[in-house]
Symmetry: C2
């Protein structure tokens, strides 16, 4: 039957993730008051004892998000929970419980499943987040992992993507591009064989076992000077665009100011100009640091306390102004266009 | 490397779902007081305004739980939410919000995705359960659906699997076996071509579009005479065993008393004895009615009110006694053994 609203031959590969989400977002019943749905790192509902409840979920699919020949299953278990913990941190919340659904290929060795469990549960114990339920089934092909996490935050500590204000400073909690560099190394190990082993292993370590900024996120949530927050999963440029769009402001990123690790710089000596390296740091995904906007007047005080408490720098990477919902990038003070390779699963070959 | 606790060549296919869940269940941090984790239809946590929060989740995987050549995607959308609504109903709760994660094959036609969305959202609107979030990604193979649902219940209305008491009566809210009959028809349409079309279509309708007992579950939750409840997803025998094991009691099911629909009886005229038909009704899964134990003294009053309110019978199918955690089946008052075909995805070829 003909449907005037869609082309009969269109497939899912013609759509991006955002288009798919939009197709679903408007079709349900209205949200009750006090509920925040699709569009942030977590949904926000009314929780226990006057607190807000946070709920987030992430899928990891073999062949799309990970390759079994690259990753250890112990690391995979760690990462499956880490990316969800990061969503709670990005809201300024504390994680509470999680749920795990697995689709398992019948041929998967039990010791892989056990490795997965150990990596997952080690992180669950570290942050005291118990596993409360889930579902387990056979998979006809890929190993698929669906983790759902709950958390809580005091209402006044909640940080949304929509809170950025004119005059804010844009900051990140860690160096950019390490995970993207690791992905490049995995995809072309021959090319990067000259990257010294200690640097290579550090980059791979972060890619396979990112440490979610759980304590940092909760502390940043408590700071009134922090206005908006998101975790870096899609990459600085994409995630800054989420802030810009939901806050209705213009964000300007200074490429020269991006924090880069020594490992990333060592990686960058092969086959890339200094400019290309900074573009990779800006566009690459899966950093899992926190990106936030902070009141300019209070930035120094917040950064000083952050450093005292966590031993890390709150790196300034840009500024926020009122204006159209967009992200600009500057190199040596002049605007430049960056060719982005999004983590757009649907459009990848 | 050798691992003394597992056989090196063991694969997931050597494990059942319960063994896999047990591997994960004990490995995390301890649960806080007031929290019920793995082992019921939903997890139970402290919720808003002195209520309990319920959280359940179900996976549906193409090739395991459904076949694209059999189901319409509109029905699939309905079913994906229906089975989760049923989990909330089984706890005596009311559904609140849901989350949807999809792994989509790139080749899936957009009109299928739209059909899925329409079936899903139609049911979401019917029960006023908004979609609050999720995740969307490409799948390298099967279409995979992970739905997570939240609900709430007054603490005194919550019904657990563990509440059955000596002397209770075992009841179900609807006829048994319709979904299993539909599966038999789908697997061998030639054999069942003589089942009259009106009966066949009713059976298939229930299989593809089960109606979750949302209002019934909530009302039954309010009845103190209802002591334990579960929804019929695995099949009467399996789900009664869950009640028996978690309540520490013996359940006796009278096969002669099982309620059977006219459609199911018409299906049963082909290739089955009356006894085999009742065994299928007892063992077949996906009925999605509610199974509960009710105080014997109050059964009549509860059943009368149930019938007045919902126009359906609370069918008596067995009894509960103190004793070992097991399920017995009687035929004409004598014990019989039933060969079960569990819905054991891991062990199926």
């Amino acid at each position: 039957m003909a449907d005037s609203s869609s082309q009969p031959l269109q497939t899912v590969s013609d759509l991006g993730e955002e288009q798919i989400i939009r197709r679903f977002a408007g079709a349900g019943p209205d949200l009750p008051r006090g509920i925040t749905g699709i569009g942030d790192d977590c949904a926000v509902t009314e929780g226990f004892g006057g607190q807000k409840q946070l709920i987030g979920t992430d899928l990891l699919i073999e062949g799309i998000h990970f390759r079994s020949e690259w990753t250890s299953y112990r690391d995979l278990g760690h990462k499956a929970l880490a990316v969800n913990l990061s969503d709670i941190a990005a809201m300024g919340g504390r994680p509470e419980n999680f749920f795990l659904s697995l689709a398992l290929p019948a041929s998967m060795p039990v010791d892989r499943l056990d490795g997965f469990r150990e990596g997952l549960m080690e992180l669950a114990r570290k942050y005291e987040v118990p596993l409360l339920g889930g579902d387990t089934t056979r998979s006809p092909g890929a190993f698929m992992i669906s983790v759902m996490i709950t958390g809580r935050a005091d209402p006044e500590h909640l940080k949304l993507r929509s809170g950025a204000r004119d005059g804010d400073i844009l900051c990140v909690t860690g160096p950019l591009g390490d995970s993207a560099a690791a992905l490049s190394i995995l995809e072309d190990p021959q090319k990067y064989s000259r990257v010294p082993e200690d640097h290579r292993s550090e980059l791979l370590q972060w890619h396979f076992r990112p440490e979610p900024a759980v304590r940092q996120g909760r502390w940043l949530g408590e700071q009134p000077a922090v206005h908006a927050m998101i975790d870096l999963s899609d990459g600085l440029l994409s995630d800054a665009r989420h802030l810009a769009e939901q806050s209705g402001c213009r964000i300007t990123i200074a490429l020269d100011q991006l924090p880069l690790s020594g490992d990333f710089k060592a990686f960058g000596k092969i086959g890339r100009t200094a400019e290309q390296l900074r573009e990779l740091a800006a566009a690459g995904g899966e950093d899992y640091h926190l990106l936030m906007t902070v009141s300019q007047a209070q930035y120094s005080a917040v950064a000083r306390q952050f450093e005292q408490r966590f031993g890390g720098v709150l790196h300034v990477v840009g500024t926020v102004e009122s204006g159209s919902s967009e992200v600009r990038t500057l190199r040596n003070g002049s605007p430049v266009e960056i060719q982005q390779h999004h983590f757009q699963h649907f459009n990848r070959p």
